[in-house]
Symmetry: C2
Subunit: 459 residues, 2 copies
């Protein structure tokens, strides 16, 4: 990829700062992407950051500001004069301003709100009232709305006039006099139309929209399903109140995928990037699940204890407990993770319950047979012949392999059904992943083990 | 979300087909999103699908076609006359045509290529030559390129003339006479400029681009990092050869996240959605890892076997093996999954190795202490007092809890370092997730267990 390497840039920039070559620095910055400038500035340290930031032209400064880490943003704001703060805040889109405010301490928030113009302050306060992770909380109010009876020429004029302050001008929304959303029109359609064409004749009416209280995950799914570049957000009366643009939807997608992955690994999701979490915050997000799963393992302990005398007689059986439990856990996790992912990208629904079970049952039988056969041969060859473990009779080997086969089938069925059931009863399916499945399958595999052993070995 | 419910639509549409209300059906279809029409048609079955598809107006038909499953696409193509096929192919964007061709059997591919016009056929063949999952394989060649000396007015005229066939007109690329990429200009900038402004004066030169052979993951990361709506793709001589649009980047992001999740659950990723995989295909994607992990469990078996006599003497120890192994596996997975995700969204790099280890070490100590204390109390209260298991002496309990603490610390360190090392030596870090970590931690926890037991109980 052709981009500047921020790590490499930093040393050049530090040398230029030391040489006080400020004009050269400014020339370099204006050729760079705001994101890359933010990375470079972030590596400069508290003393030089404000100085360098002031070198940036006004608009670039605001664009860079929004890409910085909250700590650096706070540092900058505390150093800003009121007029400098106003310059930055004026250039921010409303949704970026809201994101910023959500990260800042109260006294900084007060200064930001004071420096926003009254109209923007009102909008910010409105957006702050939407529930976290709702469509309302991620939308912007800076969209283009058109009337159905406008001509294409008028519409383009209107767009040109207002373009500077809008987050996107490429999809415009058509509303009636009571602000109800009635359609959309792309700038492409407007440019291709004759000047006197009326909007009604070229607008699309198959509008996809969300309401302010819809979850942001639905917003992200709409973008990926319908290939949108912006999505209108309406209130309960179908009045247009904002739009979500595709760049924000991409952030939501990344966030939601991260959350799913964290939940699958028994971690309570946090919003912060890994390196910015303190050890205590990481501990807090991980310990509840570890505690719960550790205490649930009491059951496996009880099962083993109750077969203590049998295990003392058939000592070889103990050695294969970890293998049986792990293989069960792995096969179960495969099924649950496949189902969880398919559910969250909308490839699957609870109505597919029996299709999924029937599919996993056949996969389970294939896995059970192949693993059991390989394991039987491996034990005869490695454990009995090579390592000379005479306590493993063919009967003991059979007990192990039959248990393995049944455990795999149970594990796959538990793994594929639990996420579907969770979804059905309104729980998050992602929680039903490896750690949870493993705990259940551990107990199941031990019960099967001792049952099979009782039958074949007469414990 | 306000959208049509495809499941609900199907029954209405079936009733209308039975009543031969074809005009009504057409009226309904033109109000719907192509994606939703594709879902509804997909549920109609082989006989009625071609009939319904022919009701769609030409452009909508092509848009719907591209959203359908490959099986349905093949069915339709086999039923098309040559001119019907040409109508659909003419409406396709080049990158969609390439996607289609990659899914079809050879004889269908031949017909598709025959019905494409020579220019498109040449482009398709070129795109098919790029390696799978490269930027070249997902780009489209239908972009707007402008010359640096054009005026804004000329540029807008050129855009209007060519707009119909371009995938996006909102970001245009500026190239010199040898097609080298020298900058970009947005339609917004063009609309805001005076008519006689020269492109050079308004174009951006901080262009982010990828080369044709770059991996699609880099493409997706560029979109999310720089909030792009399109990304230019250049050849080795920096000549512009195509663009990737944001809708395709979103598909790549979803695909890459799914792949990561599958690898973390020891599944070999496939391109197909879950419900379209046969049980045999699912088995093939899961069995190699299960086999490998099952055979690796031989080590845990050997460790247990070599302490057989000790376990026979201290029978209570066996009952806690599953709890120790699971808790170790869970804590290790948490660390590995956090690191893997941070690596894949670019929040982390190998250079952060020591920061990560130091952070996880502190988290590990917090987790170890809290879990060990809770476990000690739980065993005294539940296992000893309530369940009356007299074989668990305070010393045995100490052995269990000290083992737990050390296992947790080892597990976190193994979990956070392995993905970083994998990344460093060019392996996929996602493979170093739960199943792999679990297998390693199992053996470690047993070794610690018997070591601690030897010291405190004198095995």
């Amino acid at each position: 990829m052709t981009e500047n390497n921020p790590a490499l840039m930093t040393s050049t920039i530090e040398a230029l700062i030391d040489g006080k070559k400020y004009l050269t620095l400014r020339d370099i910055f204006v050729t760079m992407q705001p994101m890359d400038i933010a990375i470079v500035l972030g590596q400069l340290g508290e003393n030089r950051l404000p100085l360098m930031f002031r070198l940036l032209p006004k608009e670039l400064a605001a664009e860079t500001f929004i890409e910085m880490d909250p700590d650096e943003q706070e540092l900058l704001i505390r150093g800003f004069s009121d007029s400098e703060l106003k310059d930055v805040v004026d250039e921010l889109y409303v949704d970026d301003a809201v994101d910023l405010i959500e990260e800042m301490p109260a006294n900084v928030v007060k200064r930001i709100l004071k420096s926003a113009d009254p109209e923007m302050r009102r909008t910010i306060n409105e957006l702050l009232n939407y529930p976290e992770d709702s469509a309302g909380s991620i939308m912007t109010t800076e969209y283009v709305s058109l009337r159905p009876d406008m001509t294409a020429e008028d519409a383009i004029k209107r767009i040109r006039r207002g373009a500077v302050d809008k987050e996107t001008i490429y999809t415009c929304y058509v509303t009636d006099l009571s602000r109800k959303l009635i359609g959309y029109v792309t700038l492409k359609a407007l440019l291709l139309a004759e000047d006197d064409t009326v909007i009604t004749d070229i607008m699309g009416t198959d509008t996809i929209s969300v309401t302010t209280t819809d979850d942001q995950e639905e917003v992200a799914n709409a973008f990926s399903k319908y290939d949108l570049s912006a999505l209108p957000v309406v209130d309960k009366e179908n009045r247009l109140v904002g739009i979500v643009t595709v760049d924000d939807a991409i952030d939501v997608m990344e966030e939601e995928a991260t959350e799913d992955i964290e939940k699958m690994a028994a971690i309570t999701p946090t919003d912060k990037p890994y390196l910015r979490l303190t050890p205590f915050e990481i501990w807090k997000s991980r310990i509840p699940w570890l505690m719960l799963l550790m205490v649930s393992a009491t059951f496996t302990g009880i099962i083993i204890s109750s077969f203590e005398s049998a295990l003392a007689k058939w000592v070889a059986l103990t050695a294969f407990i970890p293998m049986l439990m792990d293989t069960g856990g792995n096969t179960g996790s495969q099924a649950s993770v496949s189902v969880i992912r398919a559910l969250s990208i909308g490839d699957l629904d609870f109505s597919d319950f029996f299709r999924v079970v029937w599919k996993e049952l056949r996969v389970a039988v294939l896995c059970a047979v192949s693993l059991a056969v390989v394991n039987f041969l491996k034990i005869q060859l490695v454990d009995v012949m090579i390592m000379g473990n005479s306590s493993i009779t063919v009967m003991v080997n059979l007990v192990i392999c039959i248990t393995l086969a049944f455990t795999i089938i149970c594990a796959k069925l538990v793994g594929c059904t639990l996420p579907l059931i969770a979804k059905r009863i309104g729980f998050d399916p992602a929680v039903m992943a490896s750690p949870f499945i493993t705990t259940i399958v551990d107990a199941l595999s031990l019960l099967i083990y001792f049952q099979v052993a009782s039958l074949l070995l007469g414990l």
